[in-house]
């Protein structure tokens, strides 16, 4: 055992030396877990030699990490939180990169009788009335914020829900879908994560379409005074590439099971 110690310590020191140019991208979980970033980022790395290190976090946590100066670029989907982030001086600009939509998923037996509709607030009111089990992310993610907006659009306040049918799990999209599948509950999901999710059980889409369910993903460039100067140029190149015709085409090409997951959203 003692003979190995110098080897371990030596390898440790080597591991810390001279990293290649890299960018830390604090990303919302849906673009990472759906496989989009693994599909498009290698193209960027091949063209530029810049390695992208993806932190897959909920929007709230991604913005918090970036506010600490621990990320170089942010990719999230909560317009309200993004505005607050910019107003606090952490970010410089927020630009739309892509969009898709949210879907309401629920158990096949549909206890609230909402399947087939397009109006999410109406469906949420029916779920509330039936007190059918509903899983909430409860983690201040972009999807969680959207869910809260949908309850408000139905003139309901989730903080007042009683009786155990409304379950805040405080977890990611995958954890919420796993929980909803296990409990036979409704939940709100982004379409990207839903399509690539592997444990759907008896869950299916009950509500889709409709203007209230649009889901936009924005790239936020960060305040240069608060962040790693050495990564600033690389982060700007990544942001520009994501919004460039090449990056947008790569996003549009990504499919799971023959279905396009994200629509290019950058202003031309």
């Amino acid at each position: 055992m003692r003979n190995w110690l110098p080897v371990f310590c030596g390898t440790l020191a080597l591991g810390a030396a001279a990293p290649p140019p890299s960018v830390v991208l604090a990303s919302t979980t849906s673009v990472e877990n759906s496989g989009l970033l693994a599909h498009i980022l290698p193209v960027f790395t091949r063209e530029t030699g810049i390695e992208v290190r993806v932190l897959s976090l909920g929007t709230g946590q991604a913005l918090a990490v970036a506010a600490h100066g621990d990320a170089d670029l942010v990719l999230v989907h909560d317009p309200d939180a993004e505005r607050a982030f910019i107003a606090a001086g952490h970010g410089v600009s927020t630009r739309e990169m892509a969009w898709n939509d949210f879907v309401v998923v629920g158990p096949a037996d549909d206890p609230a009788h909402v399947a087939g509709g397009h109006d999410a607030p109406v469906a949420f009111a029916a779920i509330r009335k039936a007190e059918a089990p509903f899983v909430s992310r409860g983690d201040k993610s972009g999807t969680d914020a959207q869910e809260k907006r949908l309850w408000r659009a139905a003139s309901l306040d989730p903080a007042s829900f009683k009786g155990g049918w409304y379950r805040e799990i405080g977890g990611g999209m995958g954890a919420a879908l796993n929980a909803a599948a296990a409990m036979g509950a409704y939940t709100l999901a982004d379409r990207g994560t839903w399509l690539s999710f592997g444990n759907k059980g008896s869950l299916r889409i009950v509500i889709e379409g409709g203007g209230a369910l649009i889901n936009r993903y924005d790239v936020i460039t960060l305040n240069p005074n608060e962040h790693r100067a050495e990564a600033r140029e690389a982060a700007e190149r990544l942001a520009d590439w994501l919004l460039s015709p090449d990056g947008q085409a790569a996003i549009g090409r990504y499919q799971v099971g023959g279905e396009q997951l994200f629509h290019p959203g950058a202003a031309p």
């Binding site: 055992m1 190995w4 110690l5 371990f8 310590c9 390898t11 440790l12 591991g15 810390a16 830390v24 979980t29 877990n33 693994a38 290190r53 993806v54 932190l55 897959s56 600490h68 100066g69 621990d70 977890g171 990611g172 999209m173 995958g174 954890a175 879908l177 796993n178 599948a181 690539s196 999710f197 592997g198 444990n199 759907k200 962040h227 790693r228």
Partner: protein, 238 residues
Amino acid sequence: MPDFSAALRGAIMLIGQRDGELLQIAGLSLFVSFSATAIAAVIGLPLGAALAMLRFRGRGAIVLGANALLGLPPIVVGLALYLLLSRIGPLGMLDLLFTPAAMVLAQTLLAIPIVTALAHRGLDAIWSEIGPAFQIDGAQTWQAMPHLLAIGRTQVLIAVLAGFGRAISEVGAIIIVGGNIAGHTRTMTTAIALETSEGNLGFALALGLLLVALSVTVSLVAFAVAGERRIVHHGRKP
């Protein structure tokens, strides 16, 4: 629901494929946890031995502290380290956040109390038997430490392996300070957490079985290298 036999078949298939990404993830898990265990051993073993051999001021507090911290929650260590290593934290200039080195640091902190407390407990009984002989020889007590560690190598091995077990199995600390970055800081445990969150429960369980196999293999190899078959057969050294 994926069943366990399917997961077992999946695990065997994964080993058969020798998938490059999986090898890299398993390699990083072992590298991080071996490094953390080695550092914890360098600190914890002499400390544990000293606690067994010497009576000094603050000894009781260290013994109490090491034992109390056996149950140190990884997520708390992760969060505290994150705040220290964050760019706006006091150690931000080290640029360690989201690197393997940060994960080594986290696991080291978790393993030190385990190695120290178990080494102390194991060596204490041995020292009370052999200690008087060393004192009669007139040697400085601390000079007997290498002998104590050699005689008590079974206890030392158990303490180090317990520290390793803690390091290789934890996920709460390294997912915060490592960030679970693909190709950079993704380990077996954080990959299992990720696959579970993507609903790939069968694959996650297959990874879990591989992790158990890795951990068991490390223990068996360690016992074999130390020539300690007695532990396996009799539970403890006579």
